[in-house]
Amino acid sequence: MSTTRPILEARGLVKRFGQVVALDGADFELYPDEILAIIGDNGAGKSTLIKTLSGALQPDDGEIRLDGEPVHFRSPRDARRAGIETVYQDLAVAPALDIAANIFLGRERQRRGPLGLVLRLLDKRAMRREAARHFEELKIGVQSMTQPVENLSGGQRQGVAVARAAKWAERLAIMDEPTAALGVKETRQVLDLIGRVRERGLPVILISHDMPHVFELADRIQIMRLGKRVAVVTPQTHTMPEAVAIMTGATRGELEQVLHKAPPDPERGE
């Protein structure tokens, strides 16, 4: 058993929509430096779980803790302020604006001194420079920061969204079906990018329908069923068919097996 404390954890989350119980006492932990995938059938509650963690929905019951402190997100803005960024599947970028403008959208940098304070003059050059450096670090290849995002391929566009999340997320990033709208080659680019984001030390919650991708990328996999967490497995301990069996209810989950174990990390030498 590791003593590593989860970055984000949830206990007994309940969310009802009228008669429908979308979350029925769901638990959750995300540890530092890991990619945690959440899988589950349609209606298993993974989307609702993610929305409560990102502030888009408020749970009816249960507790969410960030770095051990209880938090109550009333909006995505609250979660963002706490250092949680979310990437959505439907390419949430402004296509007519250029790459640098998208990276800094809503967080624009102004010139120092009276030009910025009084005239609110943007420091476009600094933003461009910083965006270019960030793209270099993440190894995203684009020609110029001043290209409108609409001139990019779907994969590059989602790359911009992931890069934006990675830039501003201080605690963790949530990727909600980030490759659902992409082709094979573009999906590859985005998955590689998510891997590099984790290598830079940002924990990632990944929601995906695609089992091979989940098993390739995730350190741990949380399986949701009927509004509850039924198992947490790893790609090392379980095969894809086994995970799917748990997901569909054919096999009972083996919750305790890896539940409280931090992600395998050879460097930590536990």
């Binding site: 995505p76 803005r77 963002r80 979310t86 959505y88 949430a92 970028v93 402004a94 296509p95 007519a96 604006l97 403008a101 959208l105 809503g106 967080r107 624009e108 102004q110 005239l119 609110r120 003059l121 943007l122 609409e150 934006r164």
Partner: protein
């Protein structure tokens, strides 16, 4: 332009060109507000009648009610700003489509103009209300103060849209409102600000209209200005789908519309045919925008 200068030797004279600019200044200032709104993927059909209401309030208060001219002008501008605020509230709080809201305010402002004026015209106007129609000589041509004001307003709008975070948020709201909201931009506040500023631009345009016509006329500004402001914006390259366009393009568009009307008058085309031609012009411009948009998608 070449066409009109061949058809009428008066067209290219400095005097006529400065006359064109004088005619452009009203539509030009209206089109600033229209540009902001269209950039957010909205539209304002009420520009002409709101300006007419502002103008008649300025004239009536100063001529018939004994209100000091500057206060009368301020109240006229405030009325237009009030319409902007009203539209902004209806669009952001009640979530009504701008098209319907401004179709309603078009009629409200039209009715109020005639109610307030009792269908009377007001003159002579006090000299303060005529200031922006006065001219000074510059490089051999008469330049109107109102034209100078128009250029200043375009410079301010250009700065706001291209050099500030607010401008980027205006583009982002028109481009992908949901994405703008998700990045933490208060989209309702941006929209509300845009409609309020647009109202202010109509108020300033009312002041310029009054100075140009030297008469408070309940029938002024209610026919061609609406269409001309939209035509100027679309000819200037701003997309009706929002998120794309520049205020400098609108200025060029406004000049083209002005040149067009002036040229048609000089070669003796009757007013009613001018309506016909400008109607066709705006449809063509929108069709080009539509085709360009489809190609992108």
């Amino acid at each position: 332009m070449a066409f009109f200068s061949l058809k009428s030797d008066r067209f290219l004279q400095a005097q006529n060109l400065s006359l064109v600019l004088q005619q452009v200044m009203v539509v030009g200032v209206l089109a600033i507000g229209q540009t902001l709104i269209i950039l957010t993927a909205g539209i304002d059909l009420s520009v002409g009648t709101v300006m007419a209401l502002g103008q008649i309030i300025m004239a009536k208060l100063a001529v018939a009610s004994g209100v000091p001219p500057l206060e009368a002008m301020a109240l006229g501008i405030l009325t237009c700003v009030g319409f902007g605020v009203l539209t902004g509230v209806l669009v952001t709080r009640v979530r009504l489509p701008p098209f319907i809201v401004t179709l309603g305010t078009l009629n409200i402002a039209f009715a109020l103009t005639h109610i307030v004026s009792n269908d009377l015209t007001f003159s002579p106007l006090p000299s303060q209300e005529l200031f922006f129609g006065k001219t000074f000589s510059f490089a051999g041509a008469d330049v109107t103060y109102g034209v100078v004001l128009m250029f200043v307003l375009y410079a301010v709008a250009w700065y706001g849209l291209t050099q500030t975070a607010w401008g980027r948020h205006v583009y982002a709201v028109g481009d992908n409102k949901e994405a703008a909201r998700l990045t933490g931009i208060n989209t309702d506040r941006v929209l509300f600000g845009v409609y309020t500023i647009a109202g202010l631009s109509y108020g300033i345009a009312a002041m310029l209209l009054l100075a140009r016509t030297e008469l408070g006329d309940p029938n002024a500004g209610q026919t061609t200005e609406n269409l001309d402001s939209i035509t100027a914006v679309v000819l200037g390259g701003t997309s009706l789908f929002g998120g794309r366009g520049t205020v400098i393009g609108t200025l060029i568009g406004a000049v083209i519309v002005g040149v067009f009307r002036n040229g048609l008058t000089l070669i003796g085309v009757e007013v009613i045919y001018q309506y016909l031609v400008t109607g066709i012009l705006v449809i063509l411009a929108v069709a080009v925008d539509q085709l360009a948009h489809r190609r992108q998608a």
